[in-house]
């Protein structure tokens, strides 16, 4: 059951450039989306979220874009920094049916090269 998919297991980007991480979902009932960052041996750390009533949300270097018709969201990190190297998880919830239960993607490992 892969309702949330991150098709790129890894991504390598030069420091200072843009990192774009992608996420696709199949459940049209999802109405809230989040990105988490995870370092080894730590829990997921919240980065940014977006409600389905919006198509963009920005917080500092992080911007999330949502394309509901394509069931696709992306996380842009500009400029990328070596400290951004981590695994990034996309997560979604269907608040009407499933409350706050989060469904996670498999993650994308980002490596930012100095």
């Amino acid at each position: 059951d892969q309702q949330v998919k991150q098709n790129s297991p890894s991504l390598s980007v030069q420091e200072g450039r843009i990192s774009i991480l992608n996420c696709d979902y199949t459940n049209s009932m999802f109405d809230y989306f989040l990105w988490y960052k995870k370092y080894p041996a730590e829990g997921p750390t919240f980065l940014i979220s977006i409600s389905s009533i919006k198509d963009k949300n920005e917080d500092g270097r992080f911007t999330v874009f949502l394309n509901k018709s394509a069931k696709h969201l992306s996380l842009h990190i500009v400029p990328s920094q070596p400290g951004d190297s981590a695994v990034y998880f996309c997560a979604a919830s269907d608040r009407k049916s499933s409350g706050d239960k989060l469904t996670f993607g498999t993650g994308t490992r980002l490596a930012v090269r100095p």
């Binding site: 730590e42 919240f46 997560a91 608040r95 499933s98 706050d100 989060l102 498999t106």
Partner: protein, 115 residues
């Protein structure tokens, strides 16, 4: 900055034994969750808890699992008779009032190893 804490960081147990994983959610949060991540797999929802009762649980959360808020600060996950396949990282999370736009904040996790 307030954070979710979990103990122990690593628990090793024999198959069939009971384990209790402990969590201290962020103090003003009212919704609590357990997730797990088997090595190499995605993070999976186990259970959500509000107002001293389970609000939702996944098919993973069978009769071997239980949750409890024994006092005003702790939130525990008990596995009654552990199996090899219970080996995973277990993450506790909490959120503020469970509002639909609110965010779940995760603890550092407990690595459970069942031998």
């Amino acid at each position: 900055e307030p954070e979710v804490t979990q103990t122990p960081s690593h628990q090793v147990t024999q198959m069939g034994q009971e384990v209790i994983l402990r969590c201290v959610p962020i103090s003003n949060h009212l919704y609590f969750y357990w997730y797990r991540q088997i090595l190499g797999q995605k993070v999976e929802f186990l259970v959500s808890f509000y107002n001293n009762e389970i609000s939702e649980k996944s098919e993973i959360f069978d009769d071997q699992f239980s949750v409890e808020r024994p006092d005003g600060s702790n939130f525990t996950l008990k596995i009654r008779s552990t199996k090899l396949e219970d080996s995973a990282m277990y993450f506790c999370a909490s959120s503020d009032l469970g509002l639909s736009t609110d965010t779940q904040y995760f603890g550092p996790g407990t690595r459970l190893t069942v031998l």
